[in-house]
């Protein structure tokens, strides 16, 4: 299922909040709405009260232009906002101010692309358009949506600036969709306009079709962690239908993250029902060549360039550099570590293997864990200073991630220092030999049994015996027995 498959076509419509803005898209309410009392960050504009007028946030346009440049898009010289009309409690005005690419409408930018790297291969994902629009409010239901007696509405999110990115159906597997979202997130985070670790800051809809089937829309994918799950389910569902000779219906489905299934929305709304028309309360926007060039000159380093720099400055392999820049947090973490301890390859190896695996398996963001560059570096230093073995480091790393305790403290508290004392090791080896007489006899002729004895010693020391010294001493002891016989 996760393998790229030419018969599967996936396109995404991604909504990302421009979280670095201080105010909403059309009013001066604070954009810092998370965790606030319901309806405490609202004003006549974002409540849609009669007589109120929206005024566009200048910085939002600048951020959107930065995104357009980073996505290699063609930026429109002149554009308008449109009203998308629909009646739903999350929209206090009964319309959403957005941009439209039909009826004379022009989105902010078109015809871009991003490269995603997968298993060392580069793949181009075309971006058909990006535009600005306002976020609707938040609906709260009591229990499952279809059983709630009524709906509670909080408009704090209403009017938050959203960037909508629409791709071509260029992805061929759920995994590619996830990798694309990661890339998109990393680019926006490098631009400093977005923080994907914030709850609900990135949401997406997907359209998906299988060969011989029809295009199905899946809405309500609430995070980039969910996208792989939602799409995998939908592919399975459609494959099942096609195998039984049942036609796939062209429809819109809703991803239910709790039950992990998609359900038919049975919507009767079609595009013409939104009755798009130009927003009369907002004047057109014109972006001059000069303005666009000014924004271009302020662009920071983007993931693709950062990857190349990681390869040339730190000597990292392309694959490793690619993984590290797939998240700004990860790339920043890496560079912080290197500043503290100039061992980029060791640092990268620990991050790529044990750290990332642990985070992935526990579905954690790096920011959600308690590890810091200082702590990872301290752990690597302990190995280099011969205080602990690599094996022990593997065991304490999850503890550092979970508790944030300094590595040296964990090692001391749990007595995990490497045993390098020959006297101590020699006594332990004597015990292992007397407890395993048969293995000792075998070990005199069979290399495999030698490993068994070393293994028993490591077991007795809970992995703390210095591995090379342990092997050396076990062999020495066997040698002296051989001599005696």
């Amino acid at each position: 299922m996760s393998k790229a498959d030419g018969t599967i076509k996936i396109g995404l419509e991604v909504h990302t909040q421009l979280t670095s803005l201080k105010s909403k898209l059309f009013c001066s309410c604070s954009s810092d709405y998370r965790g606030k009392e319901p309806n405490s960050v609202v004003c006549p504009v974002c409540l849609g009260l009669p007589g109120s007028l929206p005024v566009l946030n200048k910085k939002a346009v600048e951020y959107a232009v930065m995104a357009a440049l980073a996505f290699n898009c063609k930026i429109s010289k002149r554009m308008f906002f449109f009203r998308k009309n629909y009646y739903y409690p999350d929209l206090p005005k009964n319309f959403q101010i957005t941009q439209y690419d039909k009826a004379g409408g022009v989105p902010l930018a078109t015809n871009g692309y991003l490269y995603i790297g997968e298993q060392g291969k580069r793949k181009k994902i075309k971006i058909s358009r990006i535009h600005l629009e306002e976020d609707p409010g938040r609906l709260v239901h009591l229990g499952p949506i279809d059983q709630s007696p009524y709906t509670l509405v909080d408009y704090n999110r209403s009017g938050i600036a959203l960037l909508e990115t629409v791709t071509e159906p260029d992805m061929n597997s759920p995994r590619e969709a996830r990798v694309f979202l990661q890339k998109l997130r990393s680019v926006l985070e490098h631009l400093g306009i977005f923080d994907g670790s914030l709850e609900g800051a990135m949401r997406c809809d997907a359209n998906i079709s299988l060969a011989g089937g029809t295009r199905v829309e899946v809405k309500n994918i609430s995070s980039f962690k969910e996208v792989e799950r939602a799409l995998s389910f939908e592919i399975m569902r459609q494959k099942g239908l096609l195998e039984r000779g049942v036609a796939v219906k062209r429809e819109t489905r809703h991803w239910d993250a709790t039950r992990r299934i998609t359900v038919s929305l049975r919507t009767k709304e079609e595009e013409q029902d939104y009755r798009y028309f130009p927003e009369p309360d907002l004047v057109p926007i014109e972006l001059s060549e000069e303005y666009i060039n000014k924004v271009r000159s302020m662009m920071p380093e983007l993931p693709d360039d950062r990857m190349k720099r990681f390869m040339s400055s730190y000597g990292l392999p392309r694959y490793d550099a690619g993984v590290l820049v797939s998240s700004k947090a990860l790339a920043d973490f890496f560079e912080e570590c290197v500043k503290l301890y100039n061992k980029p390859k060791d640092i990268s190896n620990w991050m790529m293997s044990d750290l990332l695996r642990y985070l992935y398996e526990n579905n954690l963001e790096l920011q959600e864990s308690k590890i810091t560059p200082e702590k990872l570096v301290e752990m690597i230093r302990l190995i280099d200073e011969d205080v602990i073995s690599g094996k022990i480091a593997k065991r304490i790393l999850p503890k550092i991630i979970l508790t944030g305790k300094p590595p040296r403290k964990i090692v001391e508290e749990e007595g995990m220092m490497k045993i390098t004392d020959r006297q101590v090791l020699s006594e332990l080896i004597d015990r292992v030999f007397s407890e395993n007489p048969k293995a000792v006899k075998d070990a005199l002729v069979d290399e495999k049994a030698v490993h068994y004895l070393i293994g028993q010693l490591m077991k007795k020391t809970e992995g703390k015996a210095d591995p090379s010294l342990a092997a050396k001493m076990v062999n020495e002891k066997l040698h002296s027995i051989k001599k005696k016989t």
């Binding site: 309410c29 604070s30 319901p38 005024v55 308008f80 004379g104 007696p149 009524y150 509670l152």
Partner: protein, 100 residues
């Protein structure tokens, strides 16, 4: 000439528009609106008679562009004001019928 043809809105279209607006209509209202919608659209068809060849579409009546505000956050409305006109509310939320 298409300008002169009478508009005929059918009952299903009225029902669909009512559905989009989440409004329940009685049978009488459906009959009434079916006839009125057609008349309203006929009235607006007069605009079609204007010769618009070679005239670019107007998206805005004001001769202004690029009206922006700086990204500064200001005061929001006091909560009492926010919920003042809400017919139904609960724990600071607006209360609405469930729409699914």
């Amino acid at each position: 000439m298409k300008q002169n043809r009478k508009t005929h809105i059918c009952r299903e279209e009225v029902e669909h528009v009512a559905w989009l607006a989440h409004i329940k209509l009685t049978e009488e209202e459906k009959n009434l609106f079916t006839e009125q919608f057609s008349r309203i659209l006929d009235y607006f068809k007069k605009i079609d008679e204007a010769d618009t060849d070679g005239v670019p579409p107007t998206y805005h009546v004001l001769d202004l562009v690029n009206i922006f505000r700086e990204d500064k956050s200001g005061k929001s409305l006091p909560k009492k004001e926010v919920l003042k006109n809400a017919p139904r509310q609960e724990d600071g939320f607006f209360k609405s019928p469930r729409i699914v």
